[in-house]
Symmetry: C2
Subunit: 300 residues, 2 copies
């Protein structure tokens, strides 16, 4: 009834931050998204990994209650990303990207997933995002993420996709790049004209902006004194947002606002550790406590 389908990447990341240097740890948009969304709703995962992908990671995802029927294992190596964070850690420096099996990723959606009501197309080639959509049967809410690379290099394909999207996640730089507007409110209004009726702008430590029913909602992030590794924060945020919405079953503005707060709180757990080690420490009482603290920090 409230299941979520996510199509994205499962990766082996090598990440260096002032807090450590870890090789080939579990990462990828669909991994962070799934574990986050699963706090609220059933999650069906579609992604591809290679022969080198450790079985323990699949076991981990299954143990978290994620349906991994759609996790394809193919010959070749798993998608790998290598990055480094320095200074205020607001942005990563990508040291290397090895697409490996992702280069041939053309997901066939399992039959039993095709009627999933909530869909999140994580940041992948917009042509693939579109082909996923074509296999689905009228989802209740389709959300998508993207990145500056697709905006710059697959603009037409992205514009075609946007006409079929209900909720679009992007960061402030991407909103400005896509719209050609330097003012963020104007940028969002231009993005709305491209198709998605609802837009969420991710601003990292500066929070998020929701445009829904002609109204803006602004919030800051759940700030922490110690950020160990920001990798996956955006996908965790999206997972919390989609999980909260699907659990509620409603698409009104109040639910979207609370969803953003829950997404921000889940992202705050992710950045407290490498890989998914921070996120999995989020218990229900701990999430509730941070949501309450969030309210205390924002109401006047």
């Amino acid at each position: 009834m409230n299941s979520i389908l996510v199509v994205g990447t499962v990766a082996l990341d090598s990440v260096k931050t002032p807090f450590g240097d870890h090789q080939a740890i579990l990462g990828g948009s669909a991994a962070y998204f799934s574990v986050s969304a699963r706090y609220f709703s059933p999650v069906r995962l579609v992604a591809v990994v290679g022969k080198d992908f450790p079985h323990e990671h699949v076991a981990f995802l299954k143990k978290r209650g994620i349906d991994t029927t759609g996790l394809m294992l193919t010959s070749g190596k798993t998608f790998r990303w290598e990055g480094e964070y320095t200074g205020d850690m607001n942005s990563a420096t990508t040291l290397a990207t090895h697409l490996n099996v992702l280069a041939e990723f053309d997901p066939a959606i399992p039959e039993e997933y095709k009627k999933t009501p909530y869909v999140f197309l994580a940041n992948i080639d917009p042509e693939i995002q579109e082909r996923v959509l074509q296999q689905l049967s009228r989802p209740r809410l389709v959300a998508a993420d993207t990145m500056n690379f697709w905006i710059a290099n697959k603009r037409q394909q992205l514009l075609k996709l946007l006409k079929k999207i209900d909720l679009f996640f992007l960061n402030d730089g991407e909103a400005k790049l896509l719209s050609g507007e330097s003012n963020i409110l104007k940028a969002v209004q231009q993005v709305i004209k491209l198709g998605p009726k609802k837009v969420i702008v991710k601003k990292g430590e500066h929070g998020a902006l929701l445009f829904h029913d002609k109204t803006f909602f602004c919030t800051s992030a759940f700030l922490l004194e110690t950020v160990v590794d920001p990798t996956g924060a955006g996908d965790t945020f999206a997972g919390g947002v989609m999980g909260y919405i699907s659990q509620s079953g409603k698409l009104n503005q109040s639910v979207f606002r609370k969803a953003i707060v829950h997404g921000s709180v889940l992202a705050s757990f992710t950045v407290e550790g490498f890989s998914l080690n921070g996120l999995v420490k989020a218990t229900r009482p701990a999430i509730k406590a941070r949501v309450q603290e969030f309210e205390k920090r924002h109401y006047f």
Copy 2:
């Protein structure tokens, strides 16, 4: 009873933005602060201008109800700043700074100002800020602003001043520079250890952060679709904050939070025009309407 003393600059600015290019227009920290704070409380202005300062600007300040007894007219030219904003207009490029009469500024506080309960030491040399404080008789609340130049070049003098300050306004980059911490929460907690019990971090379009009684308050700015000229936004914000606090007569956290919202709203008027032309369009009903809109945009 609730008067505010501001010591800062009154300037002639030359500002270029995508919306226009204006020469020698009224500016300066004390000018923006005064007009903003005057929406709430009586304001006493201490600054210096030269022989070239147009009489109409003095008349304008008087007409706004600002006590200009402390506006000294000396031989020489008025402090001038030339700057340009491009792109997202989040920061100015300074093209020229002519200190002129400001180089010799050593304010003698008028006798009738010495018992003013609320004091704002706008961004000037911390040695001068300290000499102002020495002339005052136990104010109820002393607030100060600064800039990266003083943090880098007059650090010891600034540290000495900070021990005598109750509320410190600075931006996020300055907080990090002063504390040596790259995390903003840690940076603020280090700043607190330097003296001021309350700190407000200004983050421009990303809002503000208050640390008060061991608790953080986070808020975003009042975003606008059109920003004509951001000059003076920070001083307008501080004026709104100090004005609201002094009007309420209370120093508790609830008042500080509402003060920040009012400061943000007043700053949103300032950036809608060059010089003080945007700010003076703020009527009481217009301020109230934006405060209500602010709440609508932030509550969940």
